[in-house]
Every structure is written in C-alpha cells, then in structure tokens.
Amino acid sequence: MLHFLLCPFISVSQTIKGTIKNEKGEKITTASVIIRDSLRAEDIREFVIARNGEYSITLQEKYERFILEITANGYTKEFVAFGSIDKEITYIRDFVLVAESEQIEQITITAKKNPFSINEDTTKFDVQGYADGTERKIEDIIKKLPGVQVNEKTGEIKYKNKSIETIKLDGDDLFGGNYSIGSRNINVDMVEQIQAIENYSDNPLLKGIENSEKVILNLKLKKGVDVSGDIDFGNGLMAGKKFARDVGSTILAVTKKYKAFGSLSYNNIGVNQTPFNYFDSYNYNSEQAKDRDFFAQKLIPEYGFSSVLDENRVNINQTLFGSYNQTFKLGKKTNVKSGLYYTSDNIQSLQEFVNNIQIANENIKISDLNDISKQPILYSGDTQIKINTSSSSLLEYKASLKQENIFTKSNLIQNDSNFFASTLRSNNFYYKQTFMFTQKISERKALQIFLNQASDKLSQTFTFTPAIFQTDTHKQENQKAFSEKNTFQSKVLLLGSNSKKQKYTFALGVNLEQNPIQSSFEGETQNGNTIILQEFQNDFVYKENKFFNELSYRFFIKKWRFTLFNTFNFLQQTLLEQSKTTIFSEPSVSLYHKLTSISSINLSYNYNRKPFTEEYFFTNAIFQSIRQRTKNTPSLEFTKSHISNLNYQINDLYNQFLLILGTNYNITEGNYFSDYNVETKTTQVRFFYLPENTKTWSSYLNIE
C-alpha cells in the first residue's frame, strides 16, 4: 500500500543502455545517442552523449514508436527502430560501429559571406563580395551594388532612387558635388568597403533638427594606404594608323589631417573619366545642376553630337583631364577643402547624310557632308572653409571660379558643291561666393543665415564664311551675343523639431537678379567694311526681384510620414518698358508610408509657378545655326505646373531585388510655342507665349 502511495512521484520511464564499440572491439571515446520520431524526422526529441564506449538514456517522453540513432566521428551512423517498450524493463542494446573509409586529405568548407550589413541609417557593402575581378575603378563596383543606379553619361549616382550628395573618403569630403572624379578614378583595390548613409546631415549641428533625406556614399579605404597611386597605359592602333591611347595616373594621399587626390589622364578612345560632358549640347553634372540658377543662358546653343549608337566609343576625342582635390585641418576648429580642375578636349565628328529622292522620272540626290570639331578648355577651382566658431555654431565660406572656352568649327559641303564654314567661340567666366552661418539655439532649434553672390559672363561669336543672309554683299557674317547674370541672394532660416515626430522650418529671403543681354549681327563686305544690321540688334536688361517666405512642416504617425511645404512669393519683373508684380503661393504635400521593412509607397503633389528665363526675351533675331535664326515675342507670364506622383518601391537587399513602380500626372499651363517661317536661305523661328494646357501622364517600372 505504502509503495502505491509513493509511486506517483517516481517517474516510471523507459531506459535503454549498452556499449558502443568499433569492429576491433575498442570502446569509442565519444558518440551521440539521438532519439527521433521516425526515420525521416528532422527533429531530435532527446539525446545523450556517450563516453568511453558506454551509454544510458532514460526517455523523458512516451513514444508509440521511436528511432535510436548512434553517431560518432569517423564512423557510419547506426539506428534501431523501437516500438512501444515496457516501462519497467531496462533494455540493453550494444552497438558495433563501422569505420568510415579513411579520408586523409584536408577538406575546407567555407560559408558564403553576406557581403553587406545594415546598421540603422548605414548600409555597409564589402567590396570583395561584389567583385568578380574585371573591375578597375570603384565606379565599376558601385554600379553592381543593390539599390544603386549610375548614369553612365553624367556619372550621377542614385541610391534607392535618391541622388547622392557626395562620395566621402574615410569620412572626409574631398570632391563635393564633383564626386565622379572619385568614382571614375579611384582604383578598386584601394577600397575595403562602400557605405551608403541615409538621412545624412552635412551640418553636424543640424542632426536631429534638419529634415534630411540626403544620401551619401562613404568609401572606407584599406588600412595602410598612406600614399598610393597608379599609372595605367593602354595603347593600340586605330583605323587610319592613328595611335589609340588611354593613359592615366592617379595619386591618393591619406593622413589623419590631410587627404588629397590627384588625377591626370589622356585618352582618345571615347572614354569619359571627367565630371564634365561636352559631347552633348549641355549636360549638367550634379554639382553644376545645383548652381544652374546662377548661370547665364547661352543665346547660341553649343553643338550636340547626336548619335544613333551609344555615346560611349562613338565620339572621337582627345581628352586631357587633370584634377587635384584636397582637404586638410588647420588647427582644431578649421577645415579647408579645395579643388582644381583642368580639362581640354577635341571632339570630332564626320557626318554624311545622303537622300535619294525619286520624283516622276527624276532622281534627285541631296547630300550633306558635315565635318565638326568641338574644342572645349575648362579651368575651374573651388575652395571651402569651415570654422567651428563655437561648440554650437558653424561658419562656412565657399568660393568657386570657372573659365570655360569652347571653340567649335564646322565645315559643311552641300551637294558636293556648296561649301559653308562656321566657327563658334564661347567664352564663359563664372564666379560664386557663399557665406553660411549656423547657430544652434537649443537642443532642438537652430538658426541659419545664407548669403550668395554670383556673376556669370558669357560672350559668344558665331562666324559664317561665306555669308548666309546677305549673300550678295557680304563675304563673311558674324553673330555676336553677350549674356550676363548677376545674382545676390540672402536667406534667414529657422529650423526646429519637437521630439522625433515633428520637424518644421521657417524662412525669409530675398533674391535679386540682373541679366544684361546684347547681341549684334554684322557682315564684312568685299572691300573690308563692316556693316551692322540694325534689325538684328538687342540691348536690354531683364531684372527679377523676389521676396519670399518658406514654411515647411513634417510629422510622423506610426509608419506614415506627412510633409507640407509652402513658399509664399512676392515677385517683381522688369523687361524693357514692361514691369510686373506678382504675389503667389507654391504649395506641395507628400505622404510616405512604410508598408514592410523593405517596401514603401509615396504620394506627392506640388504646384509651382516659374517665370521664363532670358533666352525667351530677345525680340530681334539671333542666328543660332547656318540655317536658323530665332527671335521671341516675350511675355512676363509664368508657366504653372501641377505635378503629382505616386510610386511604390521594394528594396530587398538580402535577395538583391529592387523594384520601382511609379506614375506621374502633370498639367502644365502656359508655355512658349514656336512658329517656323521657312525662307530660301534660312528659317526664322519665333517663340511666343500661349496659356495652353499640356497634360502628360507617364508610368515607369524599374526592376533590378
């Protein structure tokens, strides 16, 4: 009876024990005894480690049937199936394991490394994980990174569909917006890791206050790189026995306080390693695009080499490029960064168009043989000084200078008999100064003051031999055009944030712009006299004064983010006798929702009004090519645009999958339209304003 009362506390379980030996009868030092549900079961229910050839396992659970498996290092597995076994009997089962065939060679198994890691706002990519050995310059690896898109022409890099601000080297900004100098010239073997940093704040005082969606790339260089450089040679022979050359050398110096990168290259095989693009009529890189508002308009457009084939390897060039970028610390508070660039090129193209037209029984052949060479020379330099005036304030001064001369020669043979030669000389001198002061008022508020001053002087001379307009009296004609833009900007900006859910900004500013424009058309007679044709003279100044207020507000609710932005403008325009004052608002609103950790949806709408730029304001014609002269009926009207966009994005780094699906709907009110008047020798184009509506609807899908 007593025994029965005590029994419930004694677990009545099944026990199996025995010896584990090998074929020689030796005890096996260590083995694992595993219990599984069935032969194919993946799960292990219970186990015990057997030592010195003996095992004993007491089952903790009840099984209808189970498998007992013995594994030991160097021996083949053994297993026995058991049905339900009695509780009070201890089963004895001995095992004899068979040795596996002796393997003496060393075998290595390596795990596939995850080539990236994510830590909050920073995604780190290991260069080795994306390299296959064919890459030379770091841009070749950057192209392969998931989420990254590289524009081959301009060198512009986008991460998760946002343009990057710059490429830093070990945390130092060397290149500014001209980051393609770094991406196109730094060698792959100098870089250990590429980091993509989101929500980047250039100004450390504004971190947490600024509403930043900026993205940058940071290259982590391999340790031990103090000074390294390389020299590349490529030689070959092109058709016509011209030597093909691609020579480049770069030098990189990295120390704690000083970093410099210099490059020098020459090639005539159509490769563009410079941050500039002269192949097209104009194609701004990201650095230039920021300053586009400060540039004077070219009244005579530059030649753009269009091609049915890809630009790469089609142009015939002789590009010489040199750059030097450096950044260094002066004392504890000051950081100086500067860059110097020189590029010269000679892009040539020979184009032949032959049209065979059959009318009735006649065969008419029209042919154009055009031999063009475009020779740009660019000198540019910039410097930036940052001074940490106190622990809560920052002073920045930037200055940049550019002198660009483009000389384009064009020889046209029409129908094998008519010969036209023209040359276009454009000289552009540009400088800009920026002064910026940031003061942190409290933990969550900051004040910034900006001052910008810029001046761009552009002078162009277009020469035609023989004359194209008054062909009887002139032997040569010249079109001259001068356009200038002087800008002064000032803005005071207050930024603040309430905890991490709301951010706001308030700004007051003024923009003063002055654009003097002159043009004249003259002909040289046989006797050497110069005659100025009055009907083609322009001389006026276009002025724009703007006072504005900017307000923005952003807040987060759970996984939703709302952004509201409004600019209130008071704009005064002056052109010739006309003067106009307009008061208007430009609102914009956007909604962002994070669906999952890798996908998001974005809806945005904005309304803006822009006055037209100066190239639509000259009333007397300017000859822009051998066949075309252009004039305008100017209007101080604005173009009004409603722009709305909806997009859905999936960015899955683990599976290297990027998808962007979007649709745009835009309504533009008011634009300049043109009418063509074809005369015997030239065509006259006139631009005029019409308050017409244009509606565009477009969709795009990007999958990588």
Binding site: T30, S32, N73, G74, I109, T110
Partner: protein, 238 residues
Amino acid sequence: MRKTFIFLLIFLTVFLANSVFSQNFLVEYKFDFKADEPIYNYQLLFNDSLSIWRNLGDVEKESKLWDVDAKKDYFIYKKNASQKLYDHCSLSGKIFHYEDKLNLFRWKLISKTKTIMNFKCNAATTEFRGRTYTAYYTTEIPISNGPWKFGGLSGLILEVSSDDGKYTYSAVKIIKNVKFKINNNLELGNTYLQWEDYKKEFISFHKRRAKQQKAKYGGGMSFKFRVETMEIKVEIEE
C-alpha cells in the same frame, strides 16, 4: 631493456596514431557583439578528446595557423577526460587561471531547423548565466562542442546567439583532417580557481577600479559604472 623498448615503440605508435589519425577539425567562427567594428574571428581546433578555442587576431602568420603555443596564445582548453574546461583572464596584468565544468548547459531541444554551410542543423535553447541563447548544431559532425564555452549537444554547434541580440557566434569555415601541433602543455596554471571564486575576484577587481575612477573624476557628481561580459555583469552606482 627490450621490453621497455617495445613498450615505448607501442606507446609512441599509439600516441602518434591518436594525434595524427583521429579526425581533427578546425572551425572558424565570426563573433559579432554589435560594436563599431563588430567582427572578431575565432578558431576552434578539436577532435574526440580535446579542443582549443582562440582568437585569430592573436595568430600572426598563415603558417602558424594550426600550431598552438600554450604559453603565448589566449585560449580556452576543453578536456574530455577530466570533463572540465580551463580558461584564464588577465586583470590589470595579473593572470587568473580558472576551471569550469564542461557540462555547463541545460539544453531544451526545439523543432526549428536551418541549413548552415550545407549542414542540416537542429536547434536548442538554454539559459546560461543571465542570458538566453539559441543554438544551431549539426549531427553530421557528431562531436559535442561549439564556440567559446558552448557544447553538450549531439553535434557541433555552428551558430549560437543570445536572444537579446547582443552576441552571435557563427561558423564561417570548416576544415576537416587538419594536422595540428601543440607546443607546451595546455594546463598552464599551478592552481586553478573554481568559476565562482574567479567571478568574485572579477567583481571585486572592477569595484575597486570604479572607486578609483570615482576618486579621480567623480567629485560630488553621481557616478554610474558598468562592466558587462557574456557571463558577468557588474553595475555600480553611487
């Protein structure tokens, strides 16, 4: 004389046989503890009877990868015969040797599975000195061992991570049939402290340091001092 000679010959052969022909493994582990430069590489050299765990950063050249110099390298030595593991730590230059049981873990088998480096792995969890860990082990390498002090499952642990996300060991390389040499006896200490005594030494050492720091910098301010390892947590607030 001949008997001794034959005896020595047999002993030598058996000894050599054990050190050369018993299957030796080298497994490299990556250790991630969520700091700025979070990855450290460790090596586990093991066979049926013993194992050595050491930091690859201490090993200088490729050629010495399989050699263990007991006097120079930092390591944890696990010995099956005595069912103990031996570790040592330096506190301000003074070296403390301590020993701990080999069977430190109470594992609970769970039905998760994962494939790591083409090895089918089963999962188990345990609570060890203040933290919960999840381990993935493979019975295809049926030696009960793992990174650091981990072990005691029916196969080699290829990945183990703490549930709070702070510490993760993951195997990145496995080499079978490696030949390794051990220079100098692995049992270096004259006396070995037991784990509990070593823990007391560790805590009191850091408490003394905290007092020194406070005297130097504290002044009248309130002072918080914290040292945390995988097994010990010292928190001082004054």
